[in-house]
Symmetry: D2
Subunit: 340 residues, 4 copies
């Protein structure tokens, strides 16, 4: 490849600057344009990216010559419309999570990209972290049969008006689950708390049902007094504890140690010394997740292959959230997850 | 009261020795008899309690003159039969949790005790710990409206054959919830994992539904690679984190700090510095819970008052577990909790 | 003041970019010049600061018209020469810690600044963190008589050739001590480990002796397998634990709880329940330390007052390190600390 | 061996009951006598040990026929006199730490035991814990050259009148060091705080000097607001973190990861991601340390071999404490440690 791929970043609010910075650091990409409807935001962009064209509409961005790809980092409500515009102008597209607001929108984007043979990728950032990639490796090699996934992703504050806590926090777990297990849930049950008037559900519990005996459970909340990011992945041979707040030992791998039908004496011993096996904490790749993500986008555009977090994974995650919203309104009644 | 109250302990397996030891340390009680069908177990009892009568059947224990009270620490399957025998001989009764195996059995025990005007108490040990009593105080004074209860009570191993993980672990949370909130759930939804042949559910998630917007959730498991005992109690003014594995700072109280509809900048700030208020960790009473429990039993027998953990609380906890068992078999369908 | 104060940053390696960024964010300062002898480094500076003059020698920087102040963020070996040049051109000066390499150099810089009535400030960054400022407040108000300071500042790796571990890590504790206690040590004893050929001491223990009974001890190391940043400050009324790695609860304040001449029973109780008082963790100011530092520099230049971390505090810290180096070479023999 | 070895326990205060209990649980020993000058204490002993002779003087204990061994758990001031009496009556002797109050007393006890070919053992309990035994194994097999030992053993309260904090807490580290390194220090430097009138030093720092470059440092205190029990053992290949307060992962082993002469970029990376290797936490033997100790005593008496914690280790530990006391009174001046 002789020339770099030209990229425009649409949306320079909370997440856009991180994506733009990583595009600039990439060997394969040239950041040629930043688009935001806010002049003040564009001014901020100009101090960080001196030689980049600044525009206030995606139409202006799409008029640029030799533009290869578009990265969309706007609010979720505009993902579908902006993504569709870019695809229709034959641009490869990377969209911040969630891919779109409904599974139907996702399906339309996927069809458009397939029809035009374009790369359509979703920014499921966690899939590119060292911790999740290690968890994925271990799930494929040494955990044995996967038995359960349990995640607690809670903290205080940040009540958003436009999305509930599942679309803000559980979305991360759904994308991790999608990558690491490779399983697709059949139904989801969700319950939650929404006690602040005018604001959506701030605490939710999701249970995902699968064809096999595997179960997944996610607890997400903006109402917890402490921040917790802890995920358990249990296999028949080994189990993982993934604590994203640990500075270095994010992933701990435990040997299996179940004791069937304990005697009174064993019960007593277990109270005193309840662990029965070795633990190890592997070194993780520390390359920034967003750098890996941008690299994956570049490689897929260059070689026209499917990204790890392709639009289908974006569809699956949105489908589950969609079903969870319905279940939430029905106080936990299990709701089927639609297939693609 | 001139003479001490005479007590017999029935069952000297895992929990009985702890109860017997605390009876001996009590000022009000005299431990006069230990009953166990195993001769080997009785031999162990004799080395710990030199001057206590040892018998192999409750009938022999109940024949003793001047016996005031019976403490039952046998497997749950015998609680009803043994408790009923003791009540019918006009003994005050303390039964290890759960009070009985069904809500119907609980109801029969309660009626018998009421009819005879006897104390019938259940050993919900956690209700007597310094941490839970402090949590109870705070719930009644400074948390504001209670919003949610969330508990994770998981560890590795100890697969029991006769009871599932909810009857082993969630029972503790249900008794804490009963004490601290004073609310009675209307329905319960439970899901779980039971992947080991011949063994009951080893991992379960319970959601409790109430008349008000309060929600309670319990995650209990014998299949977790790490031991966690962490409970959140959220109120409209303050929130509590109760970590039972912390050696000293078991209870932490956080001021409220919700931020509604954050700007991009606030979102960024919260990522860096997500807590927004003071925390304090109150000193806890360190008297052993079982000493408090035995003291409560003694006081109630002496003054004929209702215990904090009376048989009705035992009934409520068993009713929820009963409903949860049905829900578990129906993959999480909410099941009503019966009233007394 | 109508116009902003013009500032040049000298040195754009590891720390300079942080200082430059905070100068740009300041209301009082205008970043007009960045100086670094490396062209590659200057290129990096140009992408971050588009409209700033780039020069390769301090002489070129000092030739700029209307330059008010100089910030020096070069290796310690050049602090004295560069600082002196700037002062002689009547610029206010802020120097990265340590102020200089010897107490004599510090003294000469101080004299020059005094003679010319210029602000001379040292970047003891920790003094401007929310945690240390809170610790300082508490030390002045509620701890009672200060009894001891104990700090562990250890981690793995980063063996530097030009400075030993005391000049890299203990320097932070010395600056915190200087601020928080207001005491000046009379002598210092230092021992350490230097087992890697060609590299200076990588692990050191410093004990500081004072006129009163107060003691201070610092353990710093590049050879620890884990990162620890934990400081204890003990007073006659209260004690502080400051853990800089805690994301939110960096400062914990404990009530006093000493038990004199315990009985066997109390000894036993203490093993089980060793804490005897309440703890609280105050909310900390989360403004970035470097923003506070730059603000302090601006205010001192504008109003010609002494900075919190004035050159005298820089002198005191260097004097202690100087004495510690001698003590280290004498296997811990106490060495007097020179006065200004 | 056809009959069990008969043992008397002298002193039934704080530690004696633990020793007596483990003697009773031992297959090799028969607990035949408990001695304490307090009648109230003996009464307590009688409820725990029904068929054991109770006496109020060691002379009465030593008159018993077929008595093989004596275990002394009295205050340190009586260790020498009681130990000597027992040896002179040809009893094997186990003495609670410290072996005696001076190195001279230790030497006399050792000579007497040697002369009579008796087992003389000191209760350095930590040497028998699963954690320290694992640390010892690792030190001998995989750490490489030992570089340093650093221990923090601090907590609040329990000011004793008769011994300073080094004899109460540092003694444990000295016994661990003695076992794990096999090195004997040449000199010791100790500094400390003794601010409460009528009470000895409550906070102390010990540095131990060796013939090789190895250094050891111990921080012990009764004046810390938090309890810490953390020991680092650094080797040229691997390093250990031993945290005795961790319920299960007491021992963590880290691969070496030193980075010599880092670049600015590496410095930055290390701040973000400072660990550079795998960690593992081995499963520990969970047999109670005192059971192992009593077993060791029984085996040594039976086979007449030297215990792991023989009287010589008791001598070495006392010699270091003796030298540390002198150093403490001389404000940290290094004091030679006497040889046996």
């Amino acid at each position: 490849m002789t020339r770099k791929l030209n990229v425009a970043v649409i949306g320079y609010g909370y997440w856009g600057p991180n994506l733009a910075r990583n595009v600039e650091l990439s060997e394969e990409f040239e950041l040629v344009c930043i688009c935001d409807f806010s002049k003040a935001t564009l001014k901020k962009a100009s101090t960080n990216h001196a030689n980049v064209k600044l525009v206030t509409s995606i139409e202006d961005a799409l008029k640029l010559e030799h533009l290869d790809a578009i990265i969309i980092a706007t609010p979720a409500s505009s993902h579908f419309a902006l993504g569709m515009k870019a695809l229709k102008k034959n641009k490869h597209v990377l969209i911040e999570k969630p891919l779109a607001q409904t599974s139907r929108e996702c399906r339309l984007l996927i069809k458009e990209a397939q029809f035009r043979n374009l790369v359509l990728m979703v920014d499921h950032t966690f899939a590119y972290t060292g911790a999740v990639r290690k968890m994925n490796d271990l799930a494929k090699t040494s955990l044995g049969d996967l038995l359960y996934y349990d995640s607690v992703r809670i903290n205080l504050g940040l009540f958003q008006r436009d999305v509930n806590v599942m679309w803000d926090l559980a979305v991360h777990d759904l994308s991790i689950l999608d990558l690491v297990t490779g399983f697709t849930p059949k139904a989801v049950s969700a319950t939650g708390l929404a006690h602040v008037d005018g604001y959506p559900t701030n605490t939710a519990y999701l249970t995902l049902y699968y064809e096999n005996s595997f179960i997944a459970h996610i607890h997400c909340s903006w109402m917890a007094p402490v921040k917790i990011r802890q995920t358990l992945l249990g296999g028949s041979n080994r189990m993982i504890v993934y604590d994203d707040l640990e500075p270095t030992e994010k992933i701990k791998v435990y040997d299996k140690g179940i004791l069937l039908n304990p005697t009174d004496e064993e019960k007593y011993d277990m109270r005193v010394d309840y662990r029965t096996a070795d633990m190890y904490s592997p070194k993780l790749n520390s390359v920034e997740a967003l750098a890996m993500l941008i690299q994956e986008f570049a490689e897929c555009v260059s070689s026209n292959r499917k990204p790890i977090t392709d639009a289908n994974s974006g569809f699956r995650v949105v489908s589950i959230l969609e079903a969870a919203d319905i279940s939430l309104s029905k106080h936990g009644e299990p709701v089927p997850v639609v297939d693609i």
